[in-house]
Amino acid sequence: MERITIDPITRLEGHGRIEIFLNDEGNVDNAYLQIPELRGFEQFSIGRPAEEMPRITNRICGVCPEAHHMAATKALDDLFDMEPSSAVKKLRELFYSAFYVTDHTVHFYALGGPDFVLGPDSDPAKRNILGVIHKVGVEIGKQVIECRKRNHEIIKILGGRGIHPVAGLPGGWSKAMTAEERDQIEEWSHQNVEFALFSLDLFDDVVLGNQDYLDLILSDAFTHETYYMGTVDENNQANFYDGMIRVVGPDGKELVKYHPRDYSQHVAERVEPWSYLKFPYLKDVGWNGFVDGKDSGVYCCTPLSRLNASDGLTTPKAQEHFERFYETLGSEKINGRYQPVHHRLATHWARLIEILYSAERMVELIQDPEITSKDVRPIVTNTPNEGIGSVEAPRGTLTHHYKTDENGILTDVNLIVGTTNNNAPIAMSIKKAAQGLIKNGEVTEGLLNMVEMAFRNYDPCMSCATHSLPGQMPLEVKIYDADGEEIETRQQYID
């Protein structure tokens, strides 16, 4: 049996490896996404003071430290039972929206984009952000860079540092915003809106304008019918900072809507011996292996799924594009709700719409008089015990769960991060893509890259996903019968 290894998979955050097995006909028998790395945050955070978690867990991921910082901060709100003032909430959401804009921008232009802008089978040495810049022209490139620059500046102003911010406190924020900062950020927010619209146009030209890409997007190889998860507000409209977790089925029907505190009643994680990354699934449905459909607890949690799980967006321009998105991809509206879109590559488009939403949200927030309130650092006197915090990370619903002693020293920590949610669907996408693309043993770099495109659209962050690390592995020998059914397991520790 022939086997193909893609190692490391590239243009994602963190480590990953794809193993593809071909049968004698040279067709794909099976394909695996392996995550070879983990770091162990759940364990080594124990013993630390809880209030440090926003500044420890952001090191889970340097691409989306703001997400961990925010989830941790919200977990502290809950832990110390400190409901933040509306001023604090707005300040945080503003900070968080700026992060969304820059994060999605990086993915579209640096990670996912090159496949489209330069073409899946273009020269791998050029197939990157710099290549994109050369292709679309330095002027546009500078715009992209400008966008990242100003939003990282906002993150630094509000959060203390451009990467790995530090400002989060239980029920509060360590620094208030000055009037001058407000004016500056307002200007930048408007520029964000402009940039978002510009990017959507670019997507129209480069992708939607290109029939091959459109076919690729709509092709079966990149389509999965799974459950979709996303955070929504009281009107079931998407929100990234706060709200209820909503899950809709492949048919668009709401399966469940729950408070993040109840996550463990709805989500469980499985372990496979061939990957350090766990596989979450919906308890309400159950685990039936790596398969599609209503009866499989596999769900996904991406820009696409957030749109699928919501009834719409709160900002006008974004809402327009929201509707255009579904219309274009031929989703019909059933009692006020668009049917979910299952084409994974459409996630890139959804991502751009989220940029627009976040940019518009920034304008709303920065114009709110409360945003410069000085009173953002409350003094905490409550005794901590247990707290859960959740936000929509760009790569999926992110949940932090802490328990502490009465001094606020952590005694237990559990983290379900965005990408982990998508572990199963990614694995499935890769297998399906591989099977759809590799025929009769014909394998080209371009084809393999298209297989990578299958995970890339999820914008997986293995840094995030691999936050835990088991140290020395126990040795386990698994013996399978002809049908791959496990019949015996022997396990022992080796040092």
């Binding site: 013993g47 140290g471 020395q472 040092d495």
Partner: protein, 153 residues
């Protein structure tokens, strides 16, 4: 020598009290465990926690810091600072799973040769009980980090 484990103790003795106490123990021919190797510092307040860690890292099984009694410090209160640092270090080392017997603080005036000798004896005993620390072998060596050969290109 007997087969039993002979711990190695590094002693940081202050020039004015404890080091003289050790001198006195010798001069009075008090026989005590030869397991302590003394380093003379001007004051227990000079003992940088780095010294203690370095000693443990470099194979010592225990560290004894000795100074003048509070109120009798030749430098007025250097020993008080030593006590503060020691207290903080102890809390940290406890988190690191290093038994408190391994790092001890003693007040011994220049006239307390016997006290010092007795401390060295008792500490030696306690460390025999605990067994070797020998950080590089027992803690660091076997950590799964053995050299891994470079992949064949």
């Amino acid at each position: 020598m007997s087969e039993q484990f002979e711990p190695v103790i590094v002693g940081f003795l202050c020039n004015w009290c404890s080091y003289r106490a050790a001198d006195l123990a010798g001069t009075s021919r008090i026989k005590y465990a030869p397991n302590m190797r003394a380093i003379r510092v001007m004051c227990s307040g000079r003992v940088d926690p780095q010294f203690v860690l370095k000693a443990l890292r470099n194979g010592a099984d225990g560290v004894l810091i000795a100074g003048c009694h509070p109120g009798e410090c030749h430098y007025v209160n250097g020993n008080i600072k030593a006590l503060r640092r020691y207290t903080m270090l102890k809390k940290t080392l406890d988190q690191w799973g290093i038994e408190e017997e391994r790092v001890q603080l003693l007040w011994a005036s220049a006239s307390e040769g016997t006290k010092l000798a007795e401390k060295v004896n008792s500490m030696t005993e306690e460390l025999r009980e605990l067994g070797p620390l020998r950080w590089h072998e027992k803690v660091l060596a076997d950590n799964g980090a053995a050299h891994v050969p470079v992949k064949e290109a």
